[in-house]
Subunit: 358 residues, 2 copies
């Protein structure tokens, strides 16, 4: 099969981890006789520096002509004093909006070999396999009006959702749940917010079309607690944009490092794939970043854009295997663990490549 | 000293735990020759049933004439289909607004005898002592306009903060930090929200008046993770309303049970005291609810409204003592712990009363 992929490596550790994701994609392509072509494009801080905009026109136009977009990371603290609209993150939010994907899938999995890396007890996390479906184009992130009026000394953001926006992302959550353990937990703050009341009503309505899936509603505050107390009890967790941002990062502690977590955004013109971790400028260029988040993101490209489910699963199995064999980048290394092999970004990636069984 | 306290016991387990808080206040009053008088008033679901409103006029008027208000809990799932403005929670939000307290203090402490009750490892939680200062009258909770238009199939909430609203709560956070470990962590989403940018700017400005206090800023998503990974590294955590709702519940897992957590809301006409836990209608009337959240809330009444710091500390020490002695209500009991004495609400409260050293 042929796939044209926009490569938006971005800032900080973005380029180094993206590079390893491409090595994995290339290995799969070579083995299966597929043709994956890449177009390198600028986004985030590097684009501000080179083009004066966090999402240059050329990047957007070229990405829209691709079959998938693979993003590294954006952000650098040197832009902290810039207004939101001119920061690297604005490039990320704009490309999300322009590509149109509204369903952001974030798996949160407890890897057995990393059980002692989590601040949570191993017996609490054991067997956890949560899939967040985070609505990505609505809520406070994009709601208008939005302003900070320095004369009036007042700032204002808007949380808004339409029934259609909620229904389409709920549909994806239920479809995914049908292929998993058949449970959707929908998160809201319906005891206070009108937006959450609409959310709850629409999700309940959509649920009627999926009688084989159990739906439960949780308030966002209780959910922040339940996710830590009983993570194993959740399957698909459906949230609006900001609640998903907060809760999916919180669940990073289940895996033990943000550096392990992939994401895929579906439903738009071009699917967007990005590891959950940030640009981590403090460790950029040192060859110590964990490439597994980006590599697992590549697996999601194979699954959701290339239709290569077997190959996606092979990459995921290889990641399991190298973890079991004790390979550890700095973020997942542990002082008290004698069996580990401390490795660089490139060595970790090489270990995965060697372990992939196609 | 004299103190007139409005007692808003509310729904579910509210009355039973509030009763135990009053027993503690009475013991302190008797010993010190203080006069605490109480006025029982209806709020929440019981007020809807009896008076047709979650916050009857009479309750509000009488509370405003008191020196402090002690609330139990509000909420019952029988009102789940009611619009927000007619639910028990509306009574809570209205009394918060009318009393005017904007700084909601929520301590999150790791009790050594409960170390194995937390899903977090004991070595992670050990020594944790966080004080949340949650802004309680702004943000999405009260922002206008707010609506769900069923014709337009659209809902809308407003997150709004003024500089003055942020400055006054920040001031309280810094003052409290000065009496503690001299660190404030301010939480926002300044890489996306204009409101958070104002928040961050104002907090940074207020910080200049407290050169002995270290200020750090954290994004709400990262913070949800850091609180679980390194809870000991935080002292005072300052947040807007919704972020504080989510993060302080998340931190319930540090103590091991929401049933342990007190809160106090300062800065308004009448201070409002409420345990963090909900009304838990499923266990109401069974005599098994944990009264320690309400009792620790009574300690906060002693500290912040009666100026009886020594007595407040004595109550807190008594709670430590009964936990060390192995007293456990159902929510903090553990199957694998042989040394525990499983007790009812009343027995736990009695144990605390016996342990208070005045
Ligand atoms: C960088 C930031 C704008 C982004 C978000 O808030 O969506 C990030 O936190 C994420 O979760 O992908
Ligand atoms: C009951 C609800 C309205 C309330 C809130 O969200 O403030 C509660 O969760 C709390 O934290 O006190």
């Amino acid at each position: 099969m042929n796939l044209k992929i926009a490569v938006l490596a971005g800032d900080g550790i973005g380029p180094e981890v993206t590079n390893e994701a491409l090595n994995v994609l290339n290995a799969v392509a070579k083995h299966g006789g597929h043709t994956f072509t890449y177009e390198d494009l600028r986004i985030g801080g590097v684009a501000i520096d080179a083009d004066g905009s966090p999402l240059p026109e050329a990047t957007l136009a070229a990405t829209l002509k691709c079959d998938a977009a693979l993003l590294g990371a954006v952000g650098h603290n040197k832009f902290n004093s810039y207004p939101p609209s001119q920061r690297p993150e604005a490039g990320l939010l704009k490309i999300r909006a322009e590509l149109g994907g509204y369903a952001n899938l974030r798996p949160s999995v407890a890897y057995k070999p990393l059980a002692d890396n989590s601040p949570l007890r191993a017996e609490v996390t054991e067997g956890t396999d949560i899939l967040f479906v985070r609505e990505l184009l609505g809520g406070l992130y994009f709601g208008e009006p939005r302003w900070w009026d320095k004369e009036k000394k007042l700032a204002h953001n808007t949380m808004v959702y339409s029934e259609a926006e909620v229904a389409r992302v709920a549909k994806i959550a239920f479809e995914l749940a049908q292929k998993r353990r058949k449970k959707v937990t929908s998160v809201d703050k319906a005891n206070v917010l009108e937006v959450s009341q609409l959310w709850r009503a629409v999700v309940s309505e959509v649920a009627k079309n999926y009688p084989d899936v159990t739906l439960e509603h949780q308030l966002v505050d209780s959910m922040a607690m339940h996710l830590m107390n009983t993570p194993r009890s959740f399957d698909v967790v459906l949230t609006e944009n900001l609640f998903g941002d907060i809760l999916s990062d919180e669940c990073g502690v289940i895996t033990g490092s943000l550096g392990m977590l992939p994401s895929a955004t579906l439903g738009g013109k071009v699917n967007l794939y990005e590891p959950v971790h940030g640009s981590a400028p403090d460790i950029a260029g040192k060859g110590i970043a964990n490439p597994l988040g980006a590599i697992l993101t590549a697996a999601m490209v194979l699954r959701h854009s290339a239709g290569l489910e077997k190959e996606a699963a092979a990459v995921e199995a290889a990641v399991q295997e190298v973890l079991t064999a004790g390979y550890r980048t700095a973020d997942i290394a542990r002082g008290d663990y004698a069996g580990q092999k401390k490795v660089s970004t490139g060595e970790m990636s090489k270990a995965v490549l060697d372990a992939i069984k196609l």
